[in-house]
């Protein structure tokens, strides 16, 4: 007989781990205890060595699907152990560890109960168990217990309490456990309703009112798991127009939620969009991401959904409430983040009514408090690979292991757009969900709240902040005003280091960091950089031929300035510059507010305008998205020379593209494809040349430009054909959502340099 004490961490709380251990232990026949210890799990066991080995093996390899156990230690246990196996009360722990589970979609068992008339949770919109339901958004702190979640205010009724305490029940220690008698309830409030919350429709009546409003072409706010969505009928053009007008959102596409239809649930989706097998799998993943798909020409979707674009963002219902709602409406609904333009998603009932007062015709509330918002996660296919456009509900908080130990906890604040916050401590790194763009007061409040909340959740106090080197980012200003010391990290180094975090085995990288803009260490706006090296030691070996952008930041939203800039830099006249051309040229020539830039993102903008795309954009990336959708098969490569620049940095010369793009005798689709193909070719040639020079080099792609499927698929195919190893981001976004994580890695690597 042997007696041992095991400690595990990783994702072992909120995933049904203790009941699982209990079932295993009693099945194997050992005695002992299991309990949550801080954010770890402690198992004390007594049994024959063979039994202990069997138990260990099962724990590691057959854990519940949501669990990610990580063995910490195993030591002999000299003390007495009672017979039988028990789950003990949780205890705090002074040591820091991670393990906050993300919120999860309703599992098949709960879905079946939801649809079963005889089940007491029939049609109960807050059904959940140890395998599914809300987690991160409702957890106040660890150890994970009902009393430490926002469900603490709902006292369990006798029947739920019985389930909660029965080790054999699927709801044993399911902290968010609820039923119609004791749990959260829906309530409905119409915009012109002056009744108090108590009097408004509740439960089924509330749901029915919401459904009726949607059928009626109205726009309603629905409280979900990570925040509110604005929802409406996706098939009524008039409703969509009204939504665009109220949200002041002219062109940015609206996301769709499709009802579960057919054997695999995807029949509804298949009517609207082209769906590959791998995408089908992603749609039904427990994360329930929003997936960018290509709209079918015969989809019947109004153009107002995504004006001028061929893509559509689709997700399946991700909570029991949405399941019921979509079933009743029986049609695709718009499900877009409920916010005023540019602000973070709303997640509090009173706030929702106040902020959405001119936008929503009604509110479907519930009374389970959302502590922390989490926007929908967004994915996109490139080849067979899932690109993370946004990491939110179901994914966050993202947890990583660092390849070193930090001497003190660090908190990184990201950039300006698509901001996430990252916390680094010991050898752990945690990333918050997408918080959004930081230029509104509610966004700054959310930033502050998330910084506090994340540190509280993991019981860590950062003594050092990390921010982008750009002094004018709201996050940089926030850091500078915080009173804590701040480390500044160059934007593109952070991008490259974020990718490196996901692939710690790579010793030397050639990472292409292509994005819209970020401050470079020479004071210009970078965005087309080739970085050689590793975190803490990045060397800029190549860039893009610089061009001056008249109007500075304006150029990011006005592609016509980029087209003008390229022509003039190349000494050419641009006939389509328009009436303001002379003044803009003067400004450009005298370098008034015309910073130098080497951004590939701006090349896309210029190319889009030259091919007939919009001269001014209404959302980030609009021109590039348009350009990508124009490209059809069969583009020709225009070989772009690498110019020798000062200080030995090679610069990719885009000038030959101008002639190709202006050649009106070739179709737009062909020229768009040619633009992409030429950039792909440039990457491949440089990768080849560098691999010849440096053995063991691995190619990486980072930065928001690499959300472009054409580019990524083309480069991947080319690298594979040449046998050049490469890595893509798979858990973090390549856009600025990955910056905070990269900032921690870079800051930590510099420290360990």
């Amino acid at each position: 007989m042997a007696a041992q004490r095991w400690l595990l961490d990783g994702r072992v709380q909120g995933v049904g781990f203790r009941p699982f251990v209990h079932r295993l232990a009693t099945g194997v026949g050992v005695s002992g205890t299991v309990r949550n210890l801080g954010s770890k799990v402690e198992i004390i066991v007594r049994g024959e060595p063979a039994q202990l080995a069997l138990l260990q093996d099962n724990i590691l390899h057959h854990a519940p699907p949501l669990a990610r156990p990580h063995w910490l230690s195993c030591e002999d246990w000299p003390h007495h152990i009672d017979a039988g196996f028990a789950i003990l009360a949780s205890a705090p722990d002074s040591e820091i560890a991670a393990g906050v589970p993300p919120d999860c979609f309703t599992c098949p068992d709960c879905l079946a109960e939801l649809a079963d008339e005889r089940n007491r949770r029939y049609r109960y919109p807050f059904i959940n168990c140890t395998q599914c339901g809300p987690r991160y958004t409702i957890i106040r702190g660890l150890p994970y217990d009902r009393s430490a979640t926002t469900m603490a205010s709902f006292a369990l009724c006798p029947r739920c309490l019985t389930e909660y305490l029965d080790p054999a029940d699927r709801r044993f220690h399911a902290e968010p456990l609820a039923c119609p008698d004791c749990g959260p309830q829906l309530s409905w409030r119409a915009a012109d309703d002056s009744r108090s919350p108590r009097e408004s429709a509740q439960g089924e009546a509330a749901l029915a009112s919401a459904v009726a409003a949607i059928r009626d072409g109205r726009i309603i706010a629905v409280k979900g798991v990570g925040g509110y969505h604005l929802m409406c009928d996706a098939l009524q053009p008039e409703t969509l127009r009204r939504l665009r007008q109220r949200k002041q959102r002219q062109h940015k596409p609206f996301a769709l939620m499709c009802p579960w239809q057919g054997a695999d649930g995807l029949d509804g989706v298949r009517k609207l969009a082209e769906l590959t097998d791998v995408e089908a799998g992603w749609l039904t993943d427990p994360v329930r991401p929003l997936l960018w798909l290509n709209r079918r020409p015969d989809s019947g979707l109004p153009d107002e959904l995504a004006p001028g674009l061929a893509s559509v963002g689709v997700m399946l219902p991700y909570s029991p409430l949405h399941q019921l709602l979509l079933q009743a409406c029986d049609r695709p609904l718009v499900a877009t983040s409920a916010n005023r333009s540019g602000e973070p998603v709303v997640f509090d009932n009173a706030d929702a009514e106040q902020r959405l007062t001119d936008i929503a015709d009604g509110w479907l509330h519930h009374d389970r408090i959302i502590l922390r918002p989490a926007e929908d996660s967004v994915w996109r296919r490139a080849g067979q690979h899932a690109m993370i456009i946004r990491a939110g509900r179901g994914m966050a908080p993202l947890e990583f292991r660092l390849p070193f130990r930090l001497s003190a906890p660090l908190l990184a604040l990201g950039g300006q757009l698509k901001v996430t916050v990252a916390l680094g401590f010991d050898d752990r790194l945690v990333v918050s969900p997408h918080l959004g763009d930081m230029d509104s007061p509610p966004a700054l409040d959310l930033l502050t709240d998330t910084v506090v909340s994340l540190q509280q959740l993991y019981a860590v106090r950062a003594s050092l902040l990390v921010s982008d080197a750009h002094p004018d980012y709201a996050t940089s200003r926030w850091a500078a005003g915080s009173g804590l010391p701040v480390v500044r990290i160059w934007h593109h180094h952070a991008h490259a280091s974020a990718l490196a975090l996901e692939h710690p085995d790579v010793r030397q990288w050639l990472t292409f960091v292509w994005d819209g803009s970020g401050l470079g260490n020479d004071g210009s706006l970078w965005g087309g950089e080739s970085l050689l090296g590793r975190p803490g030691n990045w060397q800029r070996i190549a860039s893009v031929r610089p061009f001056c952008l008249p109007g500075g930041e304006r150029a990011a939203r006005e592609p016509w300035r980029c087209a003008a800039a390229l022509h003039w830099q190349a000494g050419l006249h641009w006939p389509d510059v328009g009436d303001d051309g002379a003044l803009l040229h003067d400004i450009w020539q005298r370098r008034i507010n015309s910073p130098a830039s080497s951004s590939v993102g701006r090349l896309f903008d210029a190319a889009a305008v030259m091919l007939g795309g919009m001269r001014k954009t209404t959302f980030e990336g609009q021109a590039a998205l348009w350009l990508e959708q124009q490209a059809m098969e069969g583009g020709q490569v225009t070989e772009l020379p690498w110019l020798r620049g000062e200080s030995g940095i090679k610069a990719l010369d885009w000038a030959p593209l101008l002639g190709m793009l202006a050649d009106a005798s070739r179709p737009v689709a062909e020229r768009a494809a040619g633009f992409h193909a030429s950039l792909v070719d440039a990457v491949l040639r440089q990768a080849e040349a560098q691999c010849r020079q440096h053995a063991g080099l691995v190619v990486g792609l980072a930065g928001g430009v690499f959300q472009n499927r054409w580019l990524v698929e083309g480069i991947v195919a080319g690298l594979q054909a040449k046998g050049i190893p490469f890595r893509l981001a798979g858990r973090l976004p390549v856009n600025d959502g990955g910056l905070a994580a990269g900032q921690i890695v870079e800051a930590g690597s510099l420290e360990h340099g």
């Binding site: 002041q248 333009s341 602000e343 007061p441 507010n593």
Partner: protein, 332 residues
């Protein structure tokens, strides 16, 4: 940013300048309060206000004025918004070798005319000549002294949540006019600097009981005054973008350049903070003056974190960051 040597940004009215003044000047010259436009001084029982200003504008002459008139207006305005009637000025001129005397005469004539219109006398002065290449044509330094108007006690400490923010006319005229004159873009139009004495505007509302504070927005513009208020009071300054008067031409040029008129200098405007109940009355006073024809209530003070926000009129609010580095050096 090199921390050991002076940069152009240190003179541009934004954060660097503020920090320079705090860390180098205020730290050593204990009695100086850098947050005031003019300092109160007691002499023989009389309450006087004292201010001093340097002028380095390029070009020396621009539509709507010259360094001469600007020097008077800038100094007189600091006294006026502090609740003082300007009485006397001094003038120190640092002149570069090679400057055309005819130009100097025009400048001094402008100075004299502006002084006379503002009702001030020039009582002392000094001239120096700098070697060719060591000065920008001419620099002027002016000290002004005025009599505090009895019963007028203005200051940022008077500001309360709920107060309204007013501006006396369109913003960004001076900065834009000077830029156009400097760059000679060859644009048609009659955009002039708004350089003028604001004494009539200030005097018209001095007696208003709800008047808390006034400032003339020069370097760094309206937005910088808003930041100064937010920093000093701890309140939020919430501006309403559609309400901020901007001339079409200024708006169009700023659009093209990528500048925000809220950050460009004015030289003949007043920003006032007035109790909500008196705001309409203050507005009416200003509107009755030709100088204040386009005056507007442009925002309010809120009990919230000390940011400057801009309601965009599209249903959202944007945070206006403090100016780091004014894109237009040598504007006044």
């Amino acid at each position: 940013m090199d921390d050991s040597h002076i940069q152009l940004a240190h003179g541009n009215g934004g954060r660097y300048m503020r920090e320079l003044i705090e860390q180098v000047f205020a730290a050593r010259l204990g009695t100086v309060d850098p947050s005031l436009d003019a300092a109160p001084v007691q002499m023989d029982g009389k309450r006087l206000m004292l201010t001093t200003d340097g002028f380095t504008v390029q070009p020396l002459e621009f539509p709507g004025g010259s360094i001469g008139s600007l020097a008077v207006h800038g100094t007189v305005n600091d006294l006026a918004v502090s609740g003082a009637v300007p009485r006397h000025l001094t003038l120190a001129a640092m002149i570069e070798e090679g400057l055309e005397i005819a130009l100097l005469q025009r400048i001094v004539a402008d100075f004299a005319r502006a002084a006379s219109e503002a009702g001030v006398t020039v009582v002392a002065g000094d001239t120096k000549v700098l070697r060719r290449g060591e000065g920008g044509g001419v620099y002027l330094a002016v000290t002004g002294i005025g009599e505090a108007w009895p019963g007028v006690h203005l200051g940022m400490s008077q500001i309360r949540a709920g107060d309204r923010v007013l501006v006396s006319g369109p913003v960004g005229d001076h900065g834009t006019a000077v830029l156009l004159a400097r760059e000679q873009f060859g644009l048609r139009g009659d955009l002039q600097s708004d350089s003028a004495s604001v004494l009539p505007l200030a005097q018209s509302i001095w007696a208003l009981p709800g008047l808390r504070f006034m400032r003339d927005p020069t370097r760094g513009g309206l937005a910088t005054v808003a930041h100064e208020i937010a920093r000093a009071t701890g309140y939020r300054v919430a501006l309403d973008q559609p309400a901020i008067p901007v001339r079409d031409q200024v708006g169009a040029i700023c659009d093209m350049l990528g500048y925000d008129p809220c950050f460009l200098a004015c030289e003949g405007r007043v920003v006032a903070v007035v109790a909500a109940a008196e705001a309409d009355a203050a507005l009416a006073c200003w509107r009755s003056l030709p100088q204040g024809a386009d005056a507007a209530i442009i925002g309010e003070i809120r009990a919230a974190s000390p940011l400057v926000t801009l309601a965009t009129g599209l249903g959202g609010e944007r945070v206006l960051q403090e100016l780091e580095d004014d894109p237009l050096p040598r504007i006044c």
